[in-house]
Amino acid sequence: MTRRRLETVLLHAALLTVALVTLAPLAWMASASFMAPGEANTLPPPLLPRAPTFANYTALFTRLDMWRNFLASAVIAVTATVGSILVNSLAGYAFAKLRFGGRDRLFGSLVVGLVVPAQVAMLPLFLLLRELHLVNTYAGALVPYLASVFGIFLIRQYTLSVPDELLDAARIDGASELQVFRLVALPVIKPILVTLAAFTFLSAWNDFMWPLIILSDSAKHTLPVALANLVGEHVQDTELMMAGSFLTILPALMVFLVFQRTYVRGIMAGGIKG
């Protein structure tokens, strides 16, 4: 019995240690963001601010106009999320539940595309968008997040488990295919839509390389791009950089915490079936 006790104690010690290591860098970031300029660069490195201050956040929003970047990030991420839900839910549902010639072969060839790194498409995509005058526009920035093979895949796998009888019953009642999708299927697959929405928002919000390439005007930069530029000029201002990092992470963290139940379940389901 004592051995069992010891095992349980060790198990929880391990669980707590991992949690501590996971959270420590983020906790330090949050703490340092409230320190006075220069305070973080003293010895021994302080863990908590001596006199917490909002000065770094004020500087970000007034002196450095970061609110513009916050806005750019929000516009791109929200539009990408809405667009992705529309486009990918229609396609994922069709691949799962509507019979048409060549469907499964087409889906198979889409899945092959998952192996292709997005970076391979980036150079020509940039040149293409330049021809379309979409460089340095939000439209150009959100193009890659709209249709996604992963999104279609996610929706299709989930929709496969919706019983056909449910859809056929609506058809017999005279519903059009669009009505069947909107009124019968959508409410049933809502959990996976939430997963996809959270997933798209987080990818668009956190993405770095594509906005770095496509947005040249610093007022239009998303937060990660603005932050990467800021670290070049303000590398000595640890506290300011931590405030900027925290500001960038916070919306992503909040979206995750609000939707975490469905989001986590979606990832676990996707992994198993994939």
Partner: protein, 296 residues
């Protein structure tokens, strides 16, 4: 089902997938194909101004890139990141999943959420945070080492430590994702197997070796290949933390591609690097599928 209904369904099917197909064809398939063509041209700064100035040069770019030390250096750096970072990250993911899956573990949901938090954080932000944690003088990591009587290590300034430092960050950032998938995999292994093994007198290690590991094989295959593909795309960490330095020790293939394409506007050369990255990724994924499918 009547034929009219079937026809309506087929029409609806094509209409429903049309927006997605159109977007993917225009903004993904077309660029990938164009990238292959671009790698066969001398598309450079002049061609950016006037695309007509680009000329077909056959495989010259490939010959040039493959003869360039900078490419092989970036290849070696990326391979180091993949070959050390991926197994390490998978091991941590599996260990965390096993801890969470333990029958007597309390507060599982809370721990699971906490472990997943780094995954949803912004890579650029955490790369900046870790850059300060790695600071040779004021960084908490070196402070901790000093308390243990070790260091100080110039993590990001020393060519020997810069890549390990980036790997450490990547493992911390990513382990939660695969942990979830392993956790889902663990839950598909029936409890009766463990109970039967326990009755037969199998110890914890034997149960892990002969029930858990084989039971996780399909999950490990999925996780292994997706992680491999993701790790070959290393970019933001070196961009933010080291700019590829010190002495090129952290310049990855994608960073090389970015610099060639968008700093020097040598689009032909950059596309060649991109095509080689695609080839390397596909070959690596196939090799891994072969290795993991082999019954153990």
């Amino acid at each position: 089902m009547s034929t009219g209904c079937a026809r309506a369904q087929a029409r609806a099917g094509w209409l429903f997938i049309a927006p997605a197909l159109l977007l993917l064809a225009t903004f993904f398939v077309l660029p990938v194909v164009a990238g292959l063509l671009l790698s066969l041209t001398d598309f450079d700064l002049y061609a950016v101004a006037d695309p007509g100035a680009a000329r077909f040069v056959g495989l010259n770019n490939f010959a040039a890139v493959l003869a360039d030390d900078a490419f092989w250096r970036a290849f070696a750096n990326t391979l180091t990141f993949v070959l050390i970072g991926m197994p390490l990250s998978l091991a941590v993911s599996l260990a965390a999943a096993l801890l969470l899956d333990h029958r007597r573990a309390r507060l599982r949901g809370l721990f699971r959420t906490v472990y997943f938090v780094p995954v949803v954080t912004t890579l650029v932000s955490v790369a900046i945070v870790w850059r300060y944690l790695y600071h040779p003088r004021y960084g908490l990591l070196n402070y901790g080492l000093e308390l243990l009587g070790l260091g100080p290590i110039d993590w990001l300034g020393d060519p020997r430590f810069a890549m390990p430092a980036i790997i450490l960050l990547a493992v911390w950032k990513n382990f939660g994702y695969n942990m979830l998938i392993f956790l889902a995999g663990l839950q598909t292994i029936p409890d009766e197997l463990y109970e039967a093994a326990a009755i037969d007198g199998a110890g914890p290690w034997q149960r892990f070796r002969h029930i858990t590991l084989p039971g996780l094989a399909p999950t490990a295959l999925f996780v292994g290949v997706t992680t491999l593909i993701g790790y070959f795309q290393l970019f933001a960490e070196p961009y933010v933390m080291t700019q590829g330095g010190p002495l090129g020790a952290t310049r990855s293939l994608v960073l090389l591609m970015y610099e060639e394409g968008f700093r020097w506007w040598r689009m032909g050369i950059a596309s060649t690097v991109a095509v080689l990255l695609l080839v390397i990724t596909v070959v690596a994924a196939l090799v891994q599928l072969r290795l993991q499918r082999r019954p153990t």
